[in-house]
Symmetry: C3
Subunit: 353 residues, 3 copies
């Protein structure tokens, strides 16, 4: 039976709690034969719905939930009026069950009549090429890959098996996209890096002859841009998750399983370690090295390398009432003077002793 | 007579000042039979041009203007060498007259030969579908809607009457776009929200099964991205105006008639009130509640909820000369120490008393 | 012989060092008959490769390089184990040689069967229009211009000779793009500026009837948006280089040869001088005047005009350890109080004298 059929079946028959418990190593409290068909929030869930509790902030919704089942941790089970799936990490188990409930049906390969594929492109029979999609010369499209409507796949590029270009994605020539990668609408992979040599008042373009390599299981958000390398390649390692409207400059390397929130930018030749957590609107200057497992909070300007793994770094000032803000920021303009004054006063008092 | 013809007529015959005054409740000073055909700035206007004065900064251009008519407020009328339309709010009246002068001609419905519409899509006869546009299965396109060149309208989505997808816009499956909405080029509505559960060093994708609801009279700027909800929907209420390159995360709600300037980002599940004024490059962290009528100045990091309506908030430091800046920001790194020193000095002086 | 053939010839035969030295006014040390075919980094270069040394940071790779030739300055020549091209500005000379090695082949004009060009558009025979590209009514496409896959060229717009719209670019109606301009994927030229008049709680759209003028030799990065003017035009002067995801508001003017790094935004009606260097994620408020030759460092909020040419300006705080950061930023919220306290202490000590 195809996954597509299974998914339709899920919509009507649902998944059995006892089966899910076995599959994911959870404990069922309540009716192991109950079935869930959809996900919902604790507050809005009804018959057939699976909800979850991971953030304690939402615990107040638990007692009144009308969900058929809730994924939660052991300590919250006592308050749960519905069937419960007890999990050590409820959010992970919820995610995995939701993946089953909403599995994308595996459709047969197809090339839409409105797709424009160069005859030299090598396109798997199981791939789906949507209307308005362009596949240029010598591009390779892997098994079960989906090239959505109005995407462009540049010449000599390679899209791995089971990868999805959702819609309106542009992949430049020679880029190599791994397996199970998702590129969201408006993403641009492999535009030229920003390289110019200054010749008096003019800028001489430095040809950008590297490419972009994206590892397996990477997700790239809507409107995110990843530039090709100047000479060598820009590299996004496996498992990296990039949110929307992120800018990755040429020759950057983002380490495996690092996650970056929206609107951040990484300047050229900066290397970010593995498993880092990068907040939104963070800016990295170029040519830095960031160690593994580093956390950067939102709106930070990362202006130097970080050699020690695992630290947490910031530089954004928190919001304040505008009037108080104006006063404080005016004082900031004289902070150096203030510091000198304090040092002088301190010295004078010491001298008094 | 069609509006198209009327618009052509405007270009040749112009609009009569007296008629405009009646229609918009203004007073004419000068010739009520004078006609305007175009808009122009005070400085560059000539015969047949309508200009306006709203920002006092530009008043110096008034005395020399060669405009046929100027929209301005009562107190500036004495300096106006041209015909004047006296309005309480000149900018609003100027905007409304300009809308008449530049009304988009109402063209008959048309489906371009290069459009790719799924047979199951329900497309109004009065809608216009441009070249390269893709309309997927079961999408609904309302009366007089315009789907511009190379746009993608996902399956099961709904585009309301009189809405315009200018060009190269992507609307994901199941999104609901209201009436008289404009989506500018490169906008992406309904990409997946950024949701992952951490399972050791790996990220497990949380299916994003909500959608995006956009109310009537919303404008969305070029390159702006609005993600679909994780479980429930992301909602942009009626009359909201979003500038370019804004990022709206999953489950966000933006209240009616709120306006947000370019390059701002709103993280997941944050709720912004009605009639707020949000500057450019503002970042909101997730899960906040912002009251109605709040103003946030540019580049602020909104890191906490705002419960009281109507306040003004900031957090960006103003620019300074780089050398002075460097000194002050170096001192900032020791601001806590400085504060402690001052407290110590203060205490010592108190002890002296 | 066509340039295309020459380029193929370069790939097999290479360029002769002696010829390059003559052409670019360099000195050869080593074998003037040696040939280079590709570029590479000092560290990875091999036979047939040209490398360069401009950043002293990479000098440690020079002694071991296996490049056939290295472009470098006189003072580094002694350490070079390969043939050397001695240049006063090695990066400029490297850029010019790389342009020869990677010259885009001049292909004959072509209109892809999947292009959708309005019959009234005036398209040079030597222009290339790619699959899925849309050229609207009365647009003019210059000699040897390339309109890549899935681009949209709006009605009445003008694309100059030798300009390239790489792919998925949107140019709005009436825009004028100069010669030798490159627009990278996802760029949007000529979307409406963000202009609304407030009428009580509602926003009245101000028609944006100006256009966008882009000078010769301008590069526009991926996802960058340049809005049309409200009444007059938005202008990008010749030789400007814009990185990715930059936002240029209506009526802005960017002076010739100014360069702006990624993720910056310029609000409406701001005028930036010539030859300015603008860092990444810089935000300009509206209606400013910035003098020529000004440098703005990354993440600065430019909140006032700069009248004197040539200065350097900043406003971003550098990153710090998050714990120390939190302490200092909490103190910042009371910086005005602290300053007052210090003034009081100072006065009291003066009184003691």
């Amino acid at each position: 039976m195809s996954v597509a059929a299974a998914t339709d079946e899920v919509a009507t028959a649902g998944l059995v709690l006892g089966d899910l418990a076995t599959r994911f190593g959870c404990e069922v409290i309540g009716d192991p034969d109950a079935r869930v068909r959809r996900v919902a929030t604790l507050a809005s869930a009804g018959d057939g719905d699976l909800a979850f509790l991971a953030n304690p902030k939402y615990r107040r919704y638990l007692k009144q939930t009308r969900a058929t089942a809730v994924v939660l941790s052991d300590d919250a089970a006592g308050d749960c009026p519905a069937n419960a799936l007890i999990a050590k990490d409820p959010y992970v188990i919820y995610a995995r069950i939701a993946q089953l409930l909403y599995a994308t049906p595996a459709l047969p390969g197809e090339r839409h009549a409105g797709a424009m594929c160069d005859p030299s492109a090598v396109i798997s029979d199981s791939a789906r090429i949507g209307p308005g999609a362009v596949v240029e010369a010598n591009a390779v499209i892997g098994e079960r890959a989906r090239i959505g409507p109005n995407c462009v796949v540049g010449h000599d590029s390679h899209i791995g098996d089971d990868s999805v270009l959702v819609a309106s994605v542009t992949v430049g020539h020679g880029a190599r996209i791994g397996r199970r990668v998702t590129l969201h609408p408006g993403a641009v992979i492999g535009a030229d890096g920003f390289g110019y040599a200054r010749d008096d008042a003019q800028w001489v373009k430095v040809p950008q002859v590297g490419s972009v390599i994206i590892g397996d299981d990477v997700d790239v958000g809507a409107g995110t841009t990843i530039d090709r390398g100047a000479v060598e390649d820009t590299v996004i390692e496996e498992g990296v998750k990039l949110d929307n409207q992120i800018q990755i400059g040429h020759n950057v390397r983002v380490g495996a399983h690092t996650i970056i929130a929206a609107c951040s930018g990484v300047s050229g030749s900066t290397v970010i370690g593995k498993r880092c957590l990068i907040g939104g609107a963070v800016g990295f200057v170029g040519h830095l090295n960031i160690a593994d497992d580093v956390t950067i909070t939102g709106q930070t300007m990362v202006n130097r390398s970080i050699t020690e793994p695992g630290g947490v770094y910031s530089s954004a000032l928190p919001m304040d009432d505008a009037v108080r803000w104006r006063k404080n920021s005016a004082r900031f303009r004289k902070l150096d003077d203030l510091t000198r004054t304090v040092k002088r006063l301190e010295k004078r008092l010491e001298d008094d002793d």
